[in-house]
């Protein structure tokens, strides 16, 4: 097991890809937290805890769930909406959950509006503009997700979670794999279960987190 840990940044001008530092992806039934293989159960709890601690917990759904290209995608989108609504119900005053879409990866001219949308090539802008301190990627193509996650790790202090439908992401601080409707719903259940038990980091007027 690598000694390298995938932690919230800003890490470096150009951080290395975690896979090149010896961080391995989880096998089916597992997850990883900070680059260390963990049980899925532990990951649900930690992800829910990070969401409830954050000033601006944010979900970034990508094209694989935003576009109703098959029945499963539509069901996943519904589950993500449920997770978001659960998050809104469970946060405390001062916390500001957000749902920011990544509908596609096309360049936006003259520029993207990071207040309402995220682009994998400029994810830091969206994080900075909205003061996001914890986010979850879901339904984003793996390559684009890894680019974004690494840029976020390099230039921001945001905690990143990946709910990946495939093999997972080393460049997130916490990653699930083989994401399904059930797994998204389980995460929502964990958020509900931990409601009121986690002290949030609240944002000060200057934008810094306490």
């Amino acid at each position: 097991m690598s000694q390298y840990r995938v932690l919230p940044g800003p890490e470096h001008f150009l951080p290395p890809a975690a896979a090149s530092m010896g961080v391995y992806l989880p096998n089916p039934g597992e997850a990883h937290i900070n680059g260390v293989i963990a049980s899925e159960e532990k990951a649900y709890e930690e992800a829910a805890r990070q969401f409830l601690m954050a000033s601006v917990p944010t979900i970034f759904p990508g094209p694989l769930v935003l576009w109703a290209w098959n029945e499963k995608a539509a069901k996943k989108a519904t589950a993500i909406r449920h997770l978001y609504n659960t998050l809104k119900e469970c946060v405390q005053p001062g916390q500001r959950p957000m749902l920011i879409p990544m509908p596609d990866y096309r360049p936006k001219y003259p520029k993207i509006n990071p207040e309402v949308e995220i682009n994998p090539n400029h994810p830091n802008l969206t994080i900075w503009h909205n003061k996001i301190d914890c986010c979850m990627f879901v339904g984003v193509h793996c390559h684009q997700a890894n680019l974004s996650l690494k840029i976020i790790r390099g230039g921001t202090s945001c905690y990143t979670i990946a709910m990946c439908a495939q093999a997972g992401h080393e460049d997130a601080m916490l990653s699930f794999r083989d994401a399904s409707v059930e797994k998204i719903m389980t995460l929502a259940d964990w958020v509900k279960k931990l409601k009121g038990t986690v002290k949030p980091r609240l944002t000060t007027k200057s934008g810094a987190t306490s």
Binding site: L14, P16, A17, N121, C142, I151, Q166, A167, E170
Partner: protein
């Protein structure tokens, strides 16, 4: 992500049954067959559920390309055509792969070099194309004979690079190669190399899986990048702002993109270990003298070990199967007891010895040689001679052979 029903157990239009790849390659009965390497390539492709094969003639891969044309005529391949040049072929392969096809092509020597710009493009676009490289000389004076210099150029393209020793390796690795390169966390092209003629034009007994079993088809919806969309990166990359702008984040994106390709090479490690039963094979690595080789140099090394045993010198052997991913830890572990490490190679530069020297502690243990190149054969006796000379043992010159 894709909502797909399993096709395992169903039949394709040729009546082949889509079979669980692990069962097909490990449990299915095998039939010994006496084939050339080129014929073995054809037989592997017959079972690989390839959608597209694109050909261009260059020795020594022409025969394999022509034989796959026969497969097309028989209906085993969706599409088959000849490109205008190797550069065109590799570009057309990219187009087919962008479109969601399982793509196969073959090349050799100067053709590989002519197409070189495409290989990092394939890797950057995460296209799991499989390319057979039947190595031959690339430099002047012209040679069509085996010479593995082009592998050195492929090592830094971001492709997976495997080096087959025998036709049996070729048969199994063509099929296993798709299983590794199409994993969503890998999704990279594979250059499956062999030493041309020695493998392609030599007959050998190869154990083949039944012809009525084939791999399940490629599922493009498991790709880590979007299926072909002219507006979305990586297609139409020149419209993407990060290559058109000059600022920190543009460069960071491009840099991260490149890092991601090499991260995918790293991720291929566990899948390659699973399918190839390790990235290296070892024999007697407790010995102080080791031969470390890839390709047919392994066979010559094995024979040299047999000759040395007759003289009371015991040697171990390491067969390097994958060059990318590079089996760094495995080689370090396998060579930990060795005082002398000999690396016979079919090329003038000794790229494998350089890789090994950069990997292990006390690299002065590595003797880069013997080298042959330009198509020369490597008699096991010259490996024996190299080892005996290094050990201070008396040996006879072989330079007069063939005169």
């Amino acid at each position: 992500m894709a909502e797909t029903k399993s096709v395992i157990g169903t039949q394709n239009k040729k009546g082949q049954t889509f079979t669980d790849p692990w069962k097909m390659l490990h449990d299915a009965p095998r039939t010994p067959s006496f084939f050339t390497g080129s014929e073995v390539i054809k037989e592997a492709v017959r079972r690989a559920s390839c959608d597209v094969m694109i050909a261009y003639p260059i020795t020594p891969q022409s025969e394999a390309a022509a034989l796959i044309g026969e497969l097309f005529a028989e209906g085993y391949i969706g599409d088959y055509f000849r490109g205008e040049s190797e550069f065109a072929v590799m570009s057309q392969c990219a187009g087919a792969a962008f479109g969601g096809a399982r793509v196969f092509t073959t090349t050799a020597g100067p053709g590989t070099m002519r197409a070189m710009e495409n290989f990092p493009m394939w890797a950057g676009a995460r296209l799991p194309i499989q390319m057979i490289v039947t190595c031959r000389g690339i430099n002047s004076p012209l040679s069509i004979q085996p010479d593995t210099l082009e592998i050195a150029y492929l090592l830094n393209t971001g492709m997976l690079v495997w080096h087959a020793e025998t036709a049996q390796d070729f048969f199994d690795w063509i099929l296993k190669g798709y299983m590794v390169s199409e994993e969503p966390d890998v999704h990279l092209p594979l250059a499956l190399c062999c030493d041309g003629f020695f493998v392609t034009h030599t007959k050998d007994v190869v154990n083949l899986t039944p012809t009525d079993m084939c791999l399940p088809p490629y599922d493009p919806y498991r790709s880590p990048v979007p299926c072909m969309d002219m507006e979305c990166p990586p297609v139409r990359m020149m419209r993407d702002p990060f290559v058109m702008k000059s600022n920190y984040i543009s460069y960071a994106t491009h840099a991260s993109w490149q890092q991601e390709i090499w991260a995918a090479v790293e991720r291929s490690r566990k899948h390659s270990i699973h399918w190839l039963n390790g990235l290296i094979d070892t024999e007697n690595t407790d010995q102080e003298i080791l031969i470390v080789a890839s390709g047919t140099a392994v066979s010559q090394g094995r024979e040299a070990i047999r000759l040395l045993e007759d003289e009371g010198v015991r040697c171990g052997l390491v067969k390097v199967k994958t060059l990318r991913p590079w089996p760094e830890e495995e080689i370090r572990e396998a060579t930990k007891n060795a005082k002398h490490i000999f690396v016979p190679e079919f090329n003038v530069t000794g790229w494998l010895a350089k890789e090994i020297r950069a990997t292990i502690p006390n690299p002065h243990r590595v003797h880069a040689g013997p080298h042959v190149c330009g198509g020369m054969t490597m008699p096991p006796e010259i490996i024996v001679q190299e080892i005996k000379t290094a050990l201070g043992m008396k040996s006879f010159s072989l330079a007069g052979r063939g005169s």
